[in-house]
């Protein structure tokens, strides 16, 4: 599951980018840069989300009503747009985690030696 940075395509398993974003926002409201940073650090630099994928994905989630956005002040007192998980987004995340677990389990079964 490597990431080609700057690429327009989403190299994650289908739907996993949205799930990662929603999961990250579970921690509380964050701005786009913060989200990217968080995912990169948490995955030990394995998952690097290109801005070309990050922002369109955030817009999509807004249109779907999973997240909402509002302007606020960042840690260094600069104007930044913060995204927040909605109730609907929480439910969606549960669903996605469930089906992700199922897929991982299935893959694990296939990969298991013997």
């Amino acid at each position: 599951m490597g990431v080609i940075r700057g690429s327009k395509q989403n190299e994650f398993l289908p739907g996993t980018l949205d799930m990662l974003l929603l999961r990250t926002l579970m921690r509380g409201p964050m701005h786009g840069y913060g989200i990217a940073q968080f995912i990169r650090q948490r995955s030990d630099d394995v998952l690097q989300i290109g801005e070309g994928s990050l922002y369109p994905a955030l817009q999509r989630l807004q249109v779907k009503g999973y997240i909402s956005a509002e302007w606020g002040l960042s840690e260094n007192k600069r104007r930044a747009r913060f995204y927040r998980l909605t109730r609907k987004g929480e439910k969606q995340l549960e669903l996605e985690v469930e089906s992700f677990d199922r897929v991982m389990e299935a893959i694990a079964h296939v990969m298991l030696p013997g």
């Binding site: 701005h31 801005e51 070309g52 922002y55 817009q59 249109v63 960042s74 600069r78």
Partner: protein, 914 residues
């Protein structure tokens, strides 16, 4: 419903597009700076840090574009884009746009106008609670208590008050039954104060039962409406409810009017409330001013009460059907109850004959959702026919616009080919073309609505026999919905074919083709020609129809009515409203007539209950010794009460015997003058003079002596067959007579002021309601036919005009495309005539084909209209011939113009151009 919320967010985003972009830009700028800051922290220089951040970020424009795309609502975006493009395109050719919009506006406007009428007359419900549950007992509007429907079944429509009360108390089918007087009663505030010779206006009053308003579920605008406690003791409830319109007219919307008293026909009534605006009574095309409790009947009409009289049938009964009842059940139960009540009433006297009579009579329940439909009955078929006609006119207009668009599509072939070559999808192109059509149709629809708004008042005259018909035309949701529907259908009708054609353009050959092209298709049947042929056919159909109605009206006017209306002035009076007692009447009549006949210009004058073509009727049953009735209708006659000179004054010839004379008074032998139809029906070829008969209602003696036989005349409509008719001397049948007739050798209308003054001089207790000439009264009944025929003629000519423009357009276009060819022909020595004929031939071919299809279509459609025609068949050859010739002449002229231009082409110019 997730998609709905999502669509909603996308649509909302349309209005914040700029905001979304600037937010995203700022956000990405922030991201870049944060990255640069991070880079600086890891030791890069300021320059380097920024550069690395930018590199790392990738293409910000693309990211921005992708992010924005997430919000996009493709469909709406496209519609907006197409509309903008369409507006620009149309604005570039204003003449074309104006021509199309005007054509469509005429078509759509005419359709909306007629639909507005249909809406007002046929579709609109009473503004009451759940009107669909309301039913009225019996359909007939005639003054008889019983009538037979087309299957010969007998129904009742009028009820006595005791019978109504019994029905109300015993009904299971209805949650409640209310009754109202079947007619409006003139209520005068103070006839004594009338100015000499002036008219006094009466309030139209309806007597209603106390539960009338609660049954309808109406609310009051001010005060309260009537309730059952206002209708308990006869004469004990002097209260009145005003209609909103009357309150506005009479009291200037003063809320303090409630609680005041209003003197009507000599009794003081307390105004308890004003009904809600919009409810003007229950009859389409007429209004009620005041509602008065049934208990006040005697006071209002100033006659003994008929509330206890089982013999006087004067009420209409309406009810709200119980929710769990089907109409059939309700009808069966009500008829059963009706029979039970009649048997109870007849008691022990039931003979087999009476029993059969009762069992044969039914209560027919008729929907009252729209109230009484006086107009509905008289003009539905004409309105529906007009709807069809304007529909056809719109169709022709669509064909014209379609033709124009086709021509334009050919002119735009280059543009379209270019767009196709640049990768535009054909479906997308089709959508774009249809958006343009929709735009044109919408503009046409808006202008059409304005036209309809303007023509609405004019169109009212069509259905009314009076200029002051109180029918409100509204542009309600239904009318607007209809217009929108017509507009959309129109856009598709005229836009689809050209759009389809345009989107199928073969762009390679089209781009390669230069100039106007010598390869204009010839010989092949084109869509445009088909359109013109159908236009010609449809306009011929409409022209023939218009011709038929025109000739029909001519026939009606030529019809003999049997009397001489010229020179007769009619004066409507209301002796009853003036508060005169019956004993005073004969004296008053004599005094007024004496006074009128003293006027030098007056030849004779008379009183009557009603005059021919007034629309009023008086029916009764007759009995003649030796005449065995075949059916109840067999004995039905019409009667009138008149003073001595009535026949002479109205101009009805007396064929045998003597007229009614002043000597025929109370106590003298009872006499009557009958008409030929009466004599023929009851006495066959024998002379009726000296024969005797009796009428219902009076004593059963058959002792009325026939002293004269008058000519048959038309009494209601020139289409009528002669009705059996009897004239009685008013002195032997005392009654309030509502009409005065005055005959003069001169101008009847000019006599009106003198006559008014003379009447007012005799008695101020005789309110004059109005005057008109008898000629006008007769003409009035043809008014509707005439207007209808004028309107169809107008629409027929509009259709012909549109079709001619269509033909002209096709030929002019073909001349333009064939300029080179024609130029070569002329250069090679073709004469002007040859060229002229060559083009004209093309046009005439289309016209003849149109006629070929149009005549059978007209004959087929004519079968639908035959009931509206008079004195001719829908296949009337003269009409068809005249219509065809006029159409051919006009069309040939339209075709001649481009042909003539072609013949005058200068070959040098034509060939130089290519």
């Amino acid at each position: 419903m997730d998609w709905l919320a999502e669509s909603f967010r996308r649509i909302a985003a349309l209005w914040r597009r700029d905001r979304i972009s600037s937010d995203l830009e700022e956000e990405m700028q922030f991201h870049l700076e944060m990255k640069a800051q991070e880079n600086r922290a890891s030791g890069m220089s300021d320059e380097e840090a920024k550069r690395a951040a930018r590199l790392d970020f990738g293409n910000p424009t693309l990211a921005l574009e992708d992010s924005r795309a997430a919000w996009r609502f493709t469909l709406i975006d496209r519609v907006i884009q197409d509309t903008r493009y369409g507006v620009r395109t149309l604005a570039r050719s204003p003449v074309f746009t104006a021509a199309v919009v005007l054509t469509l506006a005429l078509g759509i406007g005419a359709n909306t106008t007629i639909f507005t009428l249909i809406d007002a007359v046929m579709l609109r419900s009473l503004p009451v609670k759940e009107p669909q549950d309301l039913y009225v007992f019996g359909a007939s509007l005639s003054s008889g208590t019983m009538y037979a429907d087309e299957y010969g079944e007998r129904h009742t429509s009028l009820y006595s008050y005791p019978l109504y009360r019994d029905l109300r108390d015993h009904t299971e089918a209805f949650s409640d039954l209310a009754a109202m007087s079947s007619y409006e009663i003139n209520a005068y505030e103070s006839p004594g104060d009338m100015a000499p010779g002036g008219s006094t206006s009466a309030a139209e009053a309806r007597l209603v039962t106390g539960n009338f308003f609660s049954l309808l579920g109406l609310g009051a605008a001010h005060g309260r409406l009537l309730n059952p406690r206002d209708d308990e003791t006869p004469g004990g409830h002097p209260v009145v409810v005003l209609s909103h319109g009357y309150w506005v007219r009479r009291f200037g919307e003063d809320p303090a009017a409630v609680g005041r008293t209003l003197r009507l026909n000599g009794t003081e009534y307390v105004i308890v409330g004003v009904a809600r605006a919009g409810f003007d009574g229950v009859t389409a095309g007429s209004v009620t001013d005041v509602w008065i409790p049934m208990a006040m009947q005697s006071q209002l009409i100033r006659e003994p009460s008929s509330l206890d009289d089982r013999g006087v049938m004067w009420l209409r009964t309406i009810g709200r059907v119980n929710a769990e009842m089907t109409l059939e059940q309700a009808q069966a139960r009500t008829t059963q109850l009706f029979h039970d009540l009649l048997f109870e009433e007849a008691g022990s006297e039931v003979t087999p004959e009476i029993e059969e009579n009762i069992l044969q009579t039914n209560v027919e329940l008729v929907s009252f959702a729209g109230g009484f439909g006086g107009l509905r009955q008289s003009s539905s078929s004409q309105l529906l026919l007009l709807m069809a006609v304007v529909g056809l006119v719109l169709l022709i207009a669509c064909a014209n616009v379609g033709n124009l668009l086709l021509a334009r599509a050919s002119a735009r072939q280059k543009e379209i080919s270019l767009r196709l070559a640049l990768g535009s999808g054909r479906a997308r192109l089709l959508q774009q073309m249809l958006t343009e059509s929709m735009l044109l149709a919408s503009l046409g629809g808006v202008v059409g609505l304005l036209i309809a708004r303007w023509s609405a008042d004019f169109s009212l005259m069509l259905i009314s026999s009076r200029p002051d018909i109180p029918l409100e035309l509204r542009f309600d949701a239904r009318v607007l919905g209809f217009t929108v529907l017509v507009t959309v259908v129109t856009a598709i009708a005229f836009g689809l074919a050209p759009a389809w054609r345009a989107a199928r353009v073969d762009f390679i050959s089209s781009l390669r083709e230069q100039g106007s092209g010598a390869s204009a298709r010839r010989g092949r049947w084109s869509l445009r020609e088909t359109l013109v042929v159908s236009q010609v056919a449809v306009s011929l159909l409409l022209l023939i129809g218009a011709g038929l109605f025109l000739r029909s009206v001519q026939n009606l006017r030529a019809e003999e009515i049997g009397f001489t209306p010229e020179g007769v002035l009619l004066v409507d009076v209301d002796p009853q409203g003036g508060g005169l007692a019956e004993e005073q009447l004969l004296g008053l009549y004599a005094e007024v007539l004496e006074r009128l006949e003293a006027i030098p210009e007056v030849k004779s004058a008379s009183f009557s209950y009603y005059t021919p073509f007034s629309g009023i009727g008086w029916r009764t049953g007759a009995s003649v010794d030796g005449h065995e009735p075949q059916s109840p209708d067999d004995l039905m006659i019409r009667m009138n009460a008149v003073t001595a000179d009535h026949l002479e004054t109205v101009g009805i010839p007396l064929l045998e015997g003597r007229p009614i004379r002043p000597e025929d008074i109370e106590g003298a032998p009872r006499v009557a003058v009958v008409n030929q139809a009466f004599a023929r029906h009851f006495f066959g070829s024998e002379s009726a003079i000296g024969k005797r008969f009796g009428i219902d209602g009076s004593d059963s003696a058959r002792d009325i002596l026939i002293v004269g036989v008058a000519a048959d005349i038309k009494y209601y409509d020139v289409r009528d067959e002669p009705l059996r008719f009897v004239y009685f001397p008013v002195a032997q049948l005392v009654d309030y007579l509502g009409s005065i007739e005055v005959r003069t050798d001169g101008d009847a209308a000019a006599l009106a002021p003198v006559v008014r003054a003379a009447i007012a001089d005799v008695s101020r207790q005789l309110p004059i309601l109005g005057t008109r000439t008898l000629t006008a009264q007769v003409e009035r009944t043809l008014h509707q036919d005439r207007l209808f025929s004028r309107l169809t003629s107008l629409l027929g000519m509009l259709a012909l005009l549109l079709a001619s423009i269509g033909l002209y357009g096709v030929l002019a276009y073909s001349v333009a495309r064939r300029t080179d060819e024609i130029g070569v022909r002329i250069a090679l020595g073709a004469g002007k005539r040859q060229v002229l004929w060559m083009i004209l031939k093309d046009g005439l071919r289309l016209v003849f084909l149109g006629v070929f299809f149009g005549i059978p279509a007209a004959i087929a459609a004519g079968q639908l209209t035959s009931s509206l025609l008079y004195g001719l068949e829908p296949t009337d050859p003269v009409t068809i011939l005249v219509a065809t010739l006029s159409l051919t002449a006009v069309a040939a002229f339209a075709g001649f113009l481009p042909a003539w231009r072609a013949a005058r082409l200068d070959p040098v110019v034509a060939l130089h151009r290519s």
